[in-house]
């Protein structure tokens, strides 16, 4: 057991290297997780932006948190897909019959999701800077933003893991992500919720994305975050724990 533990991190980093190669060799993935969110940002800032009243003069500042979340929500379907393909093609069976840390194969995918999203965030923020994004946030605030983004990524990644591990077909493995893709649009990510009809507004104000967006927005603007950050953390941790438990159950069932 001791030897297995010692190897867990190196096994996982080999797995990480493997699936990062998958990402960099898939144009489709790169377009979806990085180019698309940037295209949304361009579209909203330069096409719709002029007509949107957010009460701030810098719409890029207003928009960026939502764009970062869109990068996460559009990337998780690929995590589910990669996991599903590994189960389907028998490479998981090879890993599991080898003397390596058993869950390294699964954790490799989770880590890949974190690392690839981190790369997307950096690229998106660089583009945002060129487009006029400015932040007065200090190091601590940036760390808090990174923490929230990482937690949200992890939470959605474990949801993706449930789908990837229990799906019966490729389509099934990624279908779960469609409702999640819509969450940023029905939130305060692009426009303030005040102008929405009451039912939509009630939904928008009480779903996880709004509190996460508001918390990140306040942190980046150097403003007090208030309650939003606690609501955001509660959502992220709650989803994370529940999804993790279900994903591990699905994993144990599949990997006997």
């Amino acid at each position: 057991m001791e030897m297995i533990k010692k190897h867990f991190f190196s096994d996982m980093s080999i797995m990480l290297g493997r699936s990062m190669r998958h990402i960099f060799r898939s144009m489709d993935t790169i377009i979806t997780v990085t180019i698309m969110p940037i295209a949304f940002m361009l579209l909203f800032v330069y096409v719709f932006g002029g007509a949107i009243q957010t009460g701030t003069d810098n719409y890029v500042n207003y928009l960026l948190p939502g764009i970062l979340l869109i990068a996460i929500t559009s990337g998780i379907a690929y995590t589910a897909y990669r996991l599903f393909m590994d189960m389907q093609r028998g490479i998981f069976e090879r890993f599991h019959s080898m003397p390596i840390a058993r869950s390294a194969a699964l954790w490799g995918h989770v880590l890949t999701s974190l690392v690839s999203n981190a790369i997307s965030f950096v690229v998106i923020i660089l583009v945002a800077l060129i487009m006029g994004f400015r932040s007065s946030a200090g190091v601590l605030s940036w760390l808090a933003v990174a923490g929230i983004l990482a937690l949200f990524t992890l939470a959605l990644t474990w949801i993706a893991a449930i789908a990837g591990l229990s799906a019966k077909s490729v389509d099934g493995a990624s279908a779960f992500s469609y409702p999640i893709l819509f969450l940023p649009f029905i939130s305060s990510a692009f426009v303030p919720t005040e102008t929405m009809p009451s039912a939509v507004r009630a939904f928008a104000e009480n779903q996880p994305v709004t509190s996460i967006v508001e918390a990140i927005r306040s942190l980046l603007a150097g403003q007090p975050v208030g309650n939003d950050i606690w609501v955001a953390l509660a959502w992220c941790l709650g989803i994370l724990i529940v999804a993790y438990l279900f994903a591990m159950r699905a994993y144990k069932r599949k990997a006997a």
Binding site: I4, R18, R21, G90, I91, E93, R94, H96, S97, P99
Partner: protein
């Protein structure tokens, strides 16, 4: 006893209502090629999965290289390699990257050298830096088996290694399996092709309806064939005839 690579006693396994293994007993000698023969759905893969620690049996015992599969799965995994029913290769990586990845996971000193040697040995050097998705079925299978040889495991499981291959690729795989056995590796092979068992195996066991109904060398099995009555031409039974005859007899009982 020391020369036993695999020992299985009273192995049982059910999937919900389906009773797949109903008390399987078998023994595989070290350094031999053992073929487990059976039709689709007979439970061959289930046995392989239990022996390679991917699945837990409901009852019975299985020992691989002296380690109980249920109690000491880590030791079992140390000493075996599995080439599953579907080529377990990474299609997006190149052949070389696949081999290096496995060599790293087995903590070998020089993963690149290991990969080069195996690419050479399996005639994949020219295709080494192409993505596996561009490989033919035979090349994929060869890479798959090459990946299983990394770290020189004492015992290799090949679950239907030639299913879906063309005759030429099949002969290539046979050659590889024979070479392995010549070098002292124990090979546990499952197949639904009777000629494959006939070609390769030192011992053959026939799995039918969850039990081993015959087990022995090819000439042992030939003795089970009903003796010819009055015939003018002496005819050696093919293994296929033996197989069908034995199954038919069991079903009548």
């Amino acid at each position: 006893m020391k020369d036993t690579a695999i020992q299985v006693k009273g192995l049982q396994k059910s999937y919900k209502q389906l009773h797949v293994l109903k008390g399987v007993d078998l023994e595989v000698e070290k350094g031999s090629i053992f073929a487990l023969l059976g039709s689709n759905g007979a439970g061959k893969t289930t046995i392989v999965k239990i022996l390679t620690t991917l699945l837990k049996q409901d009852s019975g015992t299985a020992t691989v290289n002296g380690f109980d599969v249920a109690a000491k799965p880590d030791n079992v995994r140390q000493s075996i390699s599995l080439t599953g029913q579907f080529a377990a290769v990474d299609e997006i990586l190149t052949g070389r990257e696949n081999l290096i990845m496995i060599a790293k996971l087995r903590y070998l000193k020089n993963p690149r050298q290991v990969a080069d040697d195996l690419l050479n040995r399996f005639g994949l050097t020219d295709a080494a830096d192409r993505r596996v998705s561009t490989y033919s079925g035979g090349m994929r299978r060869r890479l798959d088996i090459a990946m299983s040889l990394i770290g020189k495991p004492q015992l290799i499981f090949l679950d239907e290694p030639t299913t879906g291959l063309d005759p030429e690729a099949r002969i290539e795989v046979w050659k590889v399996v024979k070479e392995l056995a010549n070098k002292g590796t124990t090979v546990f092979l499952t197949t639904q092709y009777l000629d494959e068992a006939e070609q390769l195996a030192d011992r053959i066991a026939i799995l039918h309806e969850g039990k081993i109904i015959a087990n022995g060398t090819l000439s042992d099995l030939k003795k089970l064939f009903p003796p010819a009555k009055v015939e003018y031409v002496e005819k050696q039974p093919s293994l296929e005839e033996i197989f069908l005859a034995i199954i038919g007899k069991k079903e009548e009982q």
